[in-house]
């Protein structure tokens, strides 16, 4: 069963969540993600599912925490300032090992910044923005269809690892209208949520459950000491790193220059790549599908073979640092960021022609 629609990326989030059997959406209005919250307000109650408008993003993330503890598939969507407010409980969810999906439609910062496109939250989503240092998978769609598909994958991975998953988009992907095929993506089976807190009468073994964000503070049966907890979490991060790395490469085999991008700039890079190849310039592209884990190895291999790199990212350079980590100083890494926009105002964008200019300069 599938349905063909012509919708914006933000609405594709809703259709993806519906296909993933997400039970409840909690959200607080913030631009540029409002179409997501409004989609759930419109579409969810009529389907017997839950939409709830919260009183802040702090409240939102703590409602996700509660809903996830019950074993329900829960999610929210926010933008950069709201994302900042969620950090404490993101960390609590990792400690309590609770699954949830957070869609982050990035906007410009710092501060109140702009309500338009930017990619300035890469550090906080990939480095564990809250207290204590932790990891969560970050999925980066670059189209409407991919937004819909990756939201479904996000629910699967959140449940698989009992860890929150972030879907990282931006205002361009969020408001771009494209074809969407609404369909259920099958990722395989998952274990039952026998850890969920549902009341004694609903526990098959009749034993009470305790879900706490203070794991490691006092002894519990799963993690008897603080280091036992950290060992278990570290093992989980390593499993995610090994099994969940996703990226796309285009014409990197003979590339003298490899573009690296995610989100809307990756679409820009696709076009620049075509232009460059038409001029006979050997350019390739690595597009991130997961920002964490990051494809250090593929970047490192290309660096070893002598490719130069051009990172195109609508920020002052965040993912850039991951590329440099992968390159390990073996090759040149150039950067094209927010200063390369066609306008100095918040509506400015990085266009393929500008990327092309930079490609010509480097090669």
């Amino acid at each position: 069963m599938s349905e063909k629609l012509f919708v914006i990326g933000n609405e594709a989030v809703g259709w993806g969540a519906l296909m993933a059997d997400c039970d409840a959406f909690f959200g607080y209005p913030i631009t540029p993600q409002n179409e997501i919250t409004e989609w759930f307000a419109r579409e969810y109650p009529t389907r017997g599912k839950i939409f709830f408008q919260t009183t802040s993003e702090t409240s939102t993330i703590n409602m996700l925490y509660g809903g996830a503890a019950y074993g329900a598939r829960v999610m929210t969507a926010t933008s950069s300032p709201g994302w900042a407010l969620m950090q404490e409980t993101m960390s609590h969810m990792v400690n309590a090992e609770l699954p949830a999906v957070i869609v982050l439609v990035q906007r410009g910062g710092p501060g109140q910044g702009t309500t338009r496109q930017a990619q300035m939250d890469y550090f906080t989503v990939t480095r564990g923005g809250g207290q204590g240092g932790y990891k969560n998978i970050v999925l980066c769609p670059a189209s409407v269809q991919e937004t819909h598909d990756l939201v479904q994958l996000a629910f699967f991975l959140a449940d698989k690892y009992r860890n929150p998953v972030v879907v990282l988009t931006d205002a361009v992907i969020g408001v771009t209208t494209e074809n969407l095929e609404v369909r259920r993506v099958d990722f395989g089976s998952l274990p039952a949520k026998d850890w969920a807190v549902r009341g004694l009468e609903n526990q098959p073994d009749g034993q009470s459950r305790l879900l706490t964000c203070s794991q490691g503070y006092g002894p519990n049966l799963t993690h008897p000491t603080f280091l036992a907890l950290l060992t278990a979490l570290d093992k989980k991060y390593k499993m995610m790193k090994e099994a969940e790395l996703r990226y796309e490469t285009h014409q990197v085999e003979d590339a003298e220059l490899v573009l690296v991008a995610y989100g809307y700039p990756s679409r820009v890079c696709h076009e620049a790549l075509e232009m460059a190849r038409n001029e006979g310039l050997k350019v390739g592209l690595v597009r991130l599908i997961t920002a964490w884990p990051f494809p250090y190895q593929v970047v490192g291999e290309r660096a070893q073979k002598g490719s130069k790199f051009l990172v195109v990212e609508d920020s002052l350079g965040q993912m850039l640092e991951d590329v440099k980590l992968g390159v390990e100083g073996k090759s040149e890494v150039c950067f094209l960021g927010t200063f390369a926009r066609h306008l100095p105002t918040e509506t400015g964008l990085i266009f393929p022609e500008r990327v092309m200019e930079e490609i010509r300069r480097i090669l």
Partner: protein, 256 residues
């Protein structure tokens, strides 16, 4: 002696009450009494097997060890958010209560607590008011009395500097979503009995799907008050109860 032989058991140990759990509380702390009364309340209402507790951060988290229901520990101050979500995703099938301290519910968690009350969320909040932050060593709480010395009001709480204490049951009585608020104490057997009645009535409001219910319980904190357990009870009778009056502040069977 025959009188003793004729004594009959009027209330056995509640099944949900963990008798060794009290070992984690400080001597003279009244969390154990409050927890036992709450266990009795749940069992008498027959809801203990479909009830979920949401604990706060701080001393209130001791309830997770004392009361053997299912538990979720929320972020500091955010128990009412977690409770709201659980009540809703369970489609109202579960009875959900939060167990919080004054700092948790009324300082860092004010947004969460007050909005749950304003909305009329079908949850029950049990708030233990010991007039200071217990776990962190006795700092000022929203419920610290005017003139009371704490480690962050070493010269006494000054009205001009720290402002007024928080009277949650009184304030919430004015909110349309609230079905029931009360304040009890545990300093005498009679007050313990009244407090248990408040707990049961508060839970009944949730069972009957009336609205939000809230019970505040005045409790001792001997180590942070720097008083013996008995002196604490004297202070509660002489200083705390006159400032925080006991009783029910709202009790309706239907919201306006």
């Amino acid at each position: 002696m025959s009188e003793i032989a004729e004594r009959k058991l009027v209330r056995s140990w509640p099944k949900l009450f963990q008798r060794f759990g009290i070992l984690i509380a400080c001597p003279g702390c009244q969390y154990g009494i409050a927890a036992r009364l709450f266990c009795e309340s749940m069992e008498e209402l027959g809801i203990e097997r479909r009830t979920i507790g949401i604990a706060g951060i701080g001393c209130s988290s001791a309830a997770m060890v004392l009361i053997l229901t299912d538990w979720v520990q929320a972020a500091h101050g955010r128990a009412c958010d977690a409770a709201t979500a659980i009540k809703r995703v369970s489609r109202g099938r579960l009875i959900v209560f939060t167990w919080q301290g004054d700092g948790d519910a009324l300082a860092i968690g004010t947004e969460s607590t007050i909005h749950a009350a304003v909305r009329g969320e079908r949850i029950t909040v049990i708030m233990i008011n010991n007039g200071n932050f217990g776990t962190t060593g006795g700092q000022m709480a929203p419920t610290t009395l005017i003139g009371q010395k704490t480690t962050t009001t070493p010269y006494g709480r000054d009205l001009k500097v720290e402002g007024y204490p928080f009277y949650a049951p009184e304030y919430m009585a004015a909110m349309k979503g609230v079905a029931y608020t009360a304040r009890g104490a545990l300093n005498t057997p009679a007050n313990c009995q009244r407090t248990k009645d408040y707990m049961k009535r508060a839970l009944q409001k949730q069972i009957d799907d009336v609205g939000f219910s809230y019970v505040e319980i005045l409790s001792a904190c001997p180590p942070d008050w720097h008083l013996t357990p008995l002196e604490c009870q004297e202070r509660i009778a002489k200083e705390v109860i006159p400032a925080f009056p006991l009783g029910e502040f709202k009790d309706v069977d239907r919201l306006e």
